[in-house]
Amino acid sequence: MSSLSRDDVAKLAGLARIEMTEAELVELSSQFGLILDAVARVQEMDLSGVKATSHPQPLENIARPDVVLPSLSPEDALSGAPAQEESRFRVPQILGEAE
């Protein structure tokens, strides 16, 4: 039986940038045992020598001519912004200590 502790889930939630309540952490860790057991079945088959598939199609880079095409106006691009200032996205402090 696989399991993830409450602390494991808390660490993953931190990596995924999701704040979680204590109740959520406990619920998720209790559900993860069953889910991990189910998905761990991928390890039951002998997969030696099998190539991995990341995508159903053979992907290749597609380049277009380097010409300017119509794009969103600054007003349109900013239309969904939670906050804006001087035609730019205003975001919370990213670097250093708060003033």
Binding site: A16, I18, E19, E24, L28, V39, A52, Q57, L59, S79
Partner: protein
């Protein structure tokens, strides 16, 4: 008028017997009458729809050459961006967002004169199989309002089943078009991966996502398929090849001499008795029409569900990183001195529902160093084996078939607290997505034990989508003769309906 097929509506429009404005208004009236119970729509754009209808009527009056489904109203899954119309993907994190652009599917529909009536409910970011994971409450199955319509495209399927729209668009990452089509008694197709542009389709799992059509008949579904598919330079995974002739195939419907492969692993144990019975009967019908039924073995399919629930969450944990509270969507906790990281974490907590969080965490785990090879890496290898199983099976059969879902529609709330039980409902649909091929679900009748619709799934190789329609149309016609009336005529009348 609203109970006609889209093909009949298109015919009436072409002959001048009705107008798109009349047709659209009739459907908006139906929505007003019954959607309070069904809750298929998150947003109804009455004014926008009537303006589009008026425009297409004017173009027709001028004698312009129009697409075969010009003037037909349609319901759009809320996962596709439509300029200036609320688009949420069923998530609170996008509440109130008005996209500044159209997805390619939407711009293609607009160019074809299709009338977009509104945005339909869905499991949040298409993660779910019952539409109960929507941030805005569930959709109810028109066959029995205490049951789910399936999901994640449950709103689109319910809208078509309840005669709120003759056509709808969904998206299918693990069965999200085919399974709700099965549970609501309609036709749904997941086209070949890359056949329909993903530009403007809010991403869940990019290597599996594909938008596709819903209709009440195989031909209606084909008419929409042919309009919405095609190459798009804005999607690097879009296939640059002609759209398969699905409408012609839907009109021919001849299966004489075709080989139909029954997948051993996708039937029997775990499938509801009434589902298996209707499936077996449909096979007999196809055999009586001259098809040869063969059994095929796809041993790796047993591991498809496990592979899917690693690959999809892994891709989603990366895709959903874009919801960072910076450029659009919800932002909470932005108080003086709060760091960007704190704002991001608080916003993602407030904006994402339980299932989305569950999958992001699972994906984060599966991709983390030390576990990557054992989980995500193994899942990718299973994916290779599934592709090989299909390739081998398609040397023995022209199409493969199975029940679409192991059960009929279940009660709202029945599985919502048991994620594994919910995931098992996708067991028959997931292999198609992992292999990037195409699949259809069409009604095979009602299960004896609960009188609820059963879906029959047809699968075909990549870019052979016309085979789905050829076999689907043949089965549909034979079953219609047997039943005497379309399956939806057996659905109960909704209260408030005229």
């Amino acid at each position: 008028m609203i109970r006609s097929t889209a093909a009949q509506m298109a015919d009436a429009l072409a002959k001048g017997e009705t107008t798109s404005v009349e047709l659209t208004q009739a459907h908006l009236d139906r929505i007003a009458a019954v959607d309070g119970q069904v809750k298929a729509f998150l947003h109804v754009d009455s004014a926008g729809a009537l303006a589009q209808a008026k425009d297409v009527d004017a173009r027709r009056a001028k004698g312009e050459k129009l697409s075969p489904i010009a003037g037909i109203p349609l319901a759009l899954k809320d996962v596709l961006a439509q300029k200036g119309v609320p688009t949420t993907a069923g998530s609170k994190i996008l509440q109130g967002w008005l996209p500044p652009y159209d997805s390619t599917v939407v711009s293609t529909l607009k160019a074809a004169g299709v009338v977009i009536m509104g945005k339909t409910n869905m499991d949040e970011f298409a993660m779910g199989s019952s539409t109960e994971n929507s941030g805005y409450g569930p959709t109810f199955n028109p066959w029995d309002l205490t049951r789910t319509p399936g999901g994640s495209s449950g709103g689109s399927a319910a809208a078509v089943s309840a005669f709120e729209a003759p056509l709808a668009i969904g998206s299918d990452t693990g069965g999200s078009i085919r399974q709700p089509a099965a549970l609501t008694g309609i036709v749904g197709v997941r086209p070949t991966y890359g056949a329909v542009s993903r530009f403007g389709l809010i991403a869940y799992s990019s290597s599996l996502d594909q938008a596709g059509p819903f209709g009440r008949t195989v031909l209606d579904t084909a008419l929409l398929h042919e309009v919405m598919a095609g190459h798009d330079v804005k999607d690097a995974t879009s296939i640059n090849a002609p759209v398969p002739a699905v409408v012609a195939a839907a009109k021919s419907g001849d299966v004489k001499g075709m080989k139909i492969g029954v997948i051993k692993q996708l039937q029997g144990e775990g499938y509801q008795k009434g589902v298996q019975t209707r499936f077996d009967e449909s096979l007999q019908v196809l055999a009586s029409l001259g098809a040869e039924i063969v059994e095929v073995d796809c041993p790796s399919f047993e591991y498809a569900l496990a592979a899917y629930y690693l690959i999809a969450p892994s891709e989603c944990s990366s895709n959903l990183a874009r919801f960072d509270a910076m450029r659009y969507g919800l932002r909470t906790g932005d108080v003086d001195g709060a760091s960007a990281e704190a704002v991001m974490s608080a916003t993602r907590d407030a904006g994402f529902g339980r299932e989305v969080k569950r999958r992001i965490i699972l994906g984060t785990y599966a991709l983390s160093s030390g576990y990557y090879d054992a989980y995500y890496g193994s899942a990718q290898k299973i994916r290779t084996l599934i592709i090989q199983d299909y390739a081998k099976a398609f040397t023995k059969a022209d199409v493969l078939v199975s029940p679409t879902a192991p059960t009929t529609a279940y009660k709202i709330g029945e599985k919502v607290d048991d994620p594994m039980a919910m995931y098992l409902g996708d067991v028959a649909t997931i292999p198609v997505n992992l292999a990037g091929i195409c699949g259809m679900s069409l009604p095979a009748g009602l299960a004896d034990e609960d009188n609820l619709p059963v879906g029959f799934q047809i699968m075909a190789p990549a870019m052979q989508d016309q085979r789905l329609y050829q076999v689907g149309a043949a089965l549909e016609a034979a079953l219609l003769t047997k039943w005497g009336a379309p399956i939806l005529s057996k659905a109960p009348e909704l209260k408030g309906a005229k």
